[in-house]
């Protein structure tokens, strides 16, 4: 339904509604919450990567002055071993509970074991030292390929492999194996003039949001539980806590505070059920905060992986066959993003003969969580560098190759469904036409690389309510926590419908008792789907306002038009009134106007990006410097271009960090040895140039303004683009992430 057109509000750059609160330090994030009588909770974590818990004695901690309660897994209700639908994907409730507080075994260093509530944080920390846990230490298994071996230590003695629908006989760390197949792989490779097959590994990396997890809970004797927290999804917290503690969802109110970054990592609950249990025991509000080390060691990162890609092409640049083998670390419990990786690995391209195998494997690392286009970056690092090698062998420009092989709308993908409309060719052309791509790159050890990234985006459910205010503004109540300016992007879509300025909308992110069900801020869905719900709510308001104008003028509603923010009629009498004027007259035409909108859109419209990077490699130290960076991306329609650019720039920089130096470094005992921002080094501004974000707009037919989600796609291309640039700079193909100085020197044969 959407065509490329100009809008009055959509596409402009107003100041975000929550901006002043956020630049003055007044915005209240989860850790800023305070309540009278507040107790402070802290969590004891496993020092071992893999161990059986023989006993836990909490008596010394309980006797410590100032301690008010201690909880362990024994305080949990016995939940069923069942799969619960949690809005964005399903999860095994027993695993969820076991991850929150370990039962029989600890499965990674940092696994939560017990928790204390005390009168202040330091007293709680002292009490943790007084909890006596007896462990039987077991051998850990840390990497995916080791965990897949038959004689590997088993994390879950009862786990059987789901082998394409059949359960295996023997226990295994491989939770599942699936396969997508299309065409005739053998025939495809036989038709190829060039075949490239390469193996890649990537290490565990973390979202690295600056705000640690937090939760304050208050349980009332009437059975009502309130949780104030930073989360990507208040309703997702409500559902998880309800399942883990066996409480009815209607008794739980989750109040989403401002959130300091998430990137997928603030969907799963860790300390929220613990805060609730401590409040149940004490009758007081209990605030639990994580430290930075807790965040690294105890919350879901994105998986390390082993990926093998084989691709064949003709000398004139047509892909004839493609095959991928994806083995992903799930962490301690089943459920890695290998499915999404399989979906994305060849998605930009038309692949008539293809096969993708995916393996979900448990290892003694924290249970993985979503991280910005989960799985896609691992897969693209492999596929997009194999393509670069093919282009080199057949002597074709890598962007030309992408245009030639781009999937067209309706092409059947290897994993089954037809490809939807996405502006891949337009995005590649934007990169090709950008001055960066044709700029000379001089100097030794410098090279330019390109790569593309594809993400399908998600729709899911959202609810919005709009109240019309007598001064001609509207209040907009929504359920999507605002991590990057989505209050503005959602408000602007309502303003567009009603012909009012963005500043005339007051958006509020409401708690779970005060707004309809809304899925997580994730899957690049918020500006798209909650924006869609806002559009629907505004349409509802518009219709009701038309009825009010008709009443005012004593004409039929059919006789009232609405355009450019003005209601008018020419039916017998010429009248007009703008939105503000009519809002002032609601009292005399029937009272308040409340509009409602819900959305569950099924055409989120994928987003695709093409990145161009210039690097310089220092052959003495192995350090890679980013000299210039350009990222093009199809945004469908950029609602607030500044924040779309911000998503592209921020995503690209996370991808750069992943490419260059981010990794969990483990010792032989399976302990993460770099759980701080000093040793797990995310990019600083000194590591980077400006990031040139180029917005391409090919409207998404599944949204009234053509919006596509933009948040996740930009992280996908950087590692492959940088690896391809490194090859042109110093002549070696990097096949491991991160491309840290040590790995570069090793690949160069210098160490």
């Amino acid at each position: 339904m959407a065509e490329k057109k100009d809008y009055k509000v959509v596409g402009t750059r107003p100041i975000r509604h929550d901006g002043v609160d956020k630049v003055t330090g007044r915005a209240l994030y989860g850790a800023d919450f305070y309540a009278v009588g507040l107790l402070h909770g802290r969590v004891l974590r496993s020092p071992h990567a893999h161990a059986r818990i023989k006993s836990i004695d909490t008596s010394r901690a309980e006797a410590h002055p100032g301690v008010r309660a201690v909880v362990t897994a024994k305080d949990f209700p016995d939940v069923e071993d069942k799969i619960a639908d949690l809005g964005e994907g399903a999860a095994n409730v027993k695993d969820l509970q076991d991850n929150v507080l370990a039962g029989d075994k600890v499965l990674y260093k940092g696994h939560q074991v017990a928790a204390v509530a005390a009168i202040d944080p330091h007293t709680a920390e002292e009490a943790l030292e007084l909890i006596d846990v007896e462990y039987e230490v077991l051998p850990p298994v840390i990497s995916v390929l080791d965990a897949m071996k038959e004689d590997a230590p088993l994390l879950h003695e009862n786990m059987r492999t789901d082998e394409m629908g059949e359960k295996s006989e023997n226990p295994s760390n491989i939770a599942s194996h699936f396969q997508h197949k299309q065409g005739d792989l053998e025939k495809g490779f036989a038709e190829a003039d060039v075949v490239v097959e390469r193996e890649y590994t990537t290490e565990t990396v973390h979202q690295g949001y600056i705000e640690p997890h937090n939760a304050t809970a208050l349980y009332n004797p009437d059975g009502h539980l309130t949780i104030w927290c930073s989360t990507q999804g208040a309703f997702a917290v409500r559902e998880q806590v309800a399942e883990i503690l066996e409480l009815p969802v209607s008794k739980i109110k989750v109040v989403p505070m401002e959130i300091g970054g998430g990137f997928g990592g603030k969907i799963n609950v860790y300390i929220k059920p613990i805060a609730a249990m401590l409040s149940m025991k004490t009758g007081k509000p209990v605030k639990v905060l994580m430290s930075r080390a807790d965040v690294f060691e105890g919350t879901g990162p994105t998986p390390g992986s082993y990926v093998r890609v084989k691709m064949g092409a003709t000398n004139d640049g047509h892909i004839t066959a493609a095959e991928a083998y994806l083995a992903f670390e799930a962490g301690a419990y089943a459920g890695s993003p290998v499915g999404a990786a399989a979906f994305c690995v060849f998605s930009p391209y038309k692949v008539e003969n293809g096969q993708v195998d995916g393996y979900d494997v448990v290892v003694n690392k924290p249970k993985t969580a979503a991280y910005r286009a989960p799985g896609a970056t691992n897969a693209a690092f492999a596929a997009e560098t194999v393509i670069d090698e093919i282009c080199e062998k057949i002597g074709m420009d890598p962007l030309e190759f992408r245009i030639l092989n781009s999937a067209k709308e309706g092409d059947i993908r290897v994993d089954g469904p037809p490809a939807p409309r996405v502006g891949f060719v337009e995005t590649v052309e934007a990169a090709k036409d950008h001055p960066h791509y044709s700029a000379p790159l001089e100097g030794e050890n410098r090279g330019r690389g390109v790569a593309s990234g594809y993400w399908p985006n998600f729709g899911m459910k959202s609810s919005v309510v709009i109240n019309v205010t007598a001064d001609g503004t509207i209040s907009l109540v929504e359920g999507s926590t605002d991590i990057g300016g989505t209050r503005a992007a959602i408000a602007m879509q309502a303003a567009e419908v009603l012909g009012i300025p963005a500043e005339s909308v007051t958006p509020t992110v409401a708690d779970t008792d005060s707004v309809g069900y809304t899925a997580v801020t994730g899957g690049s869905r918020t500006a798209f789907a909650t924006g869609y719900a806002a559009y629907e709510a505004a349409q509802d308001v518009k219709q009701q306002m038309i009825e009010r104008a008709a009443k005012l003028w004593e004409v039929d509603t059919d006789a009232v038009q609405f355009a450019d923010g003005v209601f008018s009629t020419v039916n017998g009498k010429e009248e007009e009134i703008d939105f503000k004027g009519l809002a002032a007259r609601l009292d005399e035409t029937g009272g308040p106007v409340v509009g409602r909108g819900t959305a569950d859109p099924n055409q989120p419209g994928p987003s695709i990006g093409v990145h161009v990077v210039d690097v310089e490699v220092d052959p003495e130290t192995g350090k890679i410097d980013i000299l210039r960076y350009t990222a093009t991306q199809d945004a469908g329609k950029a609602v607030h271009p500044s924040y779309v650019e911000g998503q592209i720039q921020g995503g690209a920089v996370q991808g750069i960090g992943w490419a260059l130096n981010e990794e969990y470094i483990y010792n032989e005992k399976g302990e993460m040895t770099n759980a701080s921002f000093l040793d797990y080094r995310i990019p600083t501004c000194l590591d980077l140039p400006m990031i040139d974000a180029v917005i391409v707009e090919v409207p998404n037919p599944g949204h009234p303004y053509g919006v596509r989600g933009v948040g996740e796609t930009p992280i996908i291309a950087p590692p492959a683009a940088i690896a391809n640039a490194v090859y042109r700079a110093v002549g070696v193909r990097m096949k491991e992430l991160p491309m840290s100085p040590g790995r570069v020197l090793k690949t160069l044969g210098k160490i």
Binding site: R13, I15, R16, G19, V20, K22, V23, T24, G25, R26, A27, Y29, A31, D32, Y34, P65, G66, D120, P121, H122, G208, Y209, I210, E211, P212, E258, I259, G260, G261, G262, F263, L289, R292, I483, G484, G485, H640, S642, Y643, E645, G646, Q647, Q649, G650, G651, A652, V653, Q654, S676, F677, L678, I682, P683, T684, C685, L686, L688, M690, I691, A693
Partner: protein, 157 residues
């Protein structure tokens, strides 16, 4: 529990008195004792800069200063930057340049930018990047933050 220390100090131009434990950091005192929650805890070991404040004219991580050390000193925090009817030019520049996404690092960046511009009103891009390298942002890729500080320098100089 250790005996609390009495501290008299100046915060954002006003005399403030508080009691704190000797082990409490300035960040804990600001947040838990004085309820000035604009300084954020991102790491609690000086790596992220989210708790940046200006102490006697010097940019510091408040997580690395003890609350008891504030006796007789003068502290500026994000809460003291704006006038009642007007934001500081740095705050305006952050808003106009969309230099924040989640906003958790923003108070720290703004205090760091203020300390920079107080000392060097016309910094180069490199000087801005060098000065702000102690503040981590995971959302923006820094592009718009650097531009905001460039803009603020134009406005204030």
């Amino acid at each position: 529990m250790p005996r609390k220390v009495h501290v008299q100090t100046t915060i954002n131009g006003e005399t403030v008195e508080y009691l704190c434990e000797p082990r409490q950091s300035l960040l804990e005192v600001l947040r838990d004792v004085l309820h000035l929650t604009g300084a954020k805890e991102g790491c609690n070991n000086g790596n992220c800069g989210a708790c940046s404040v200006i102490l006697d004219g010097r940019l510091v991580n408040s997580c690395l200063v003890l609350g008891a050390e504030l006796e007789g000193k003068s502290l500026e925090t994000i809460e003291g930057l704006a006038d009642p009817d007007q934001l500081d030019p740095i705050q305006d520049a952050f808003l106009e340049n969309a230099a924040l996404q989640c906003g958790i690092c923003t108070p720290g960046f703004i205090m760091a930018a203020k300390a920079l511009l107080d000392n060097n009103p016309n910094p180069t891009e490199y000087e801005i990047r060098y000065w702000l390298a102690g503040n981590l942002c995971r959302c923006t890729g820094y592009d718009k933050i650097v531009r905001a500080v460039q803009d603020a320098a134009q406005t204030t100089s």
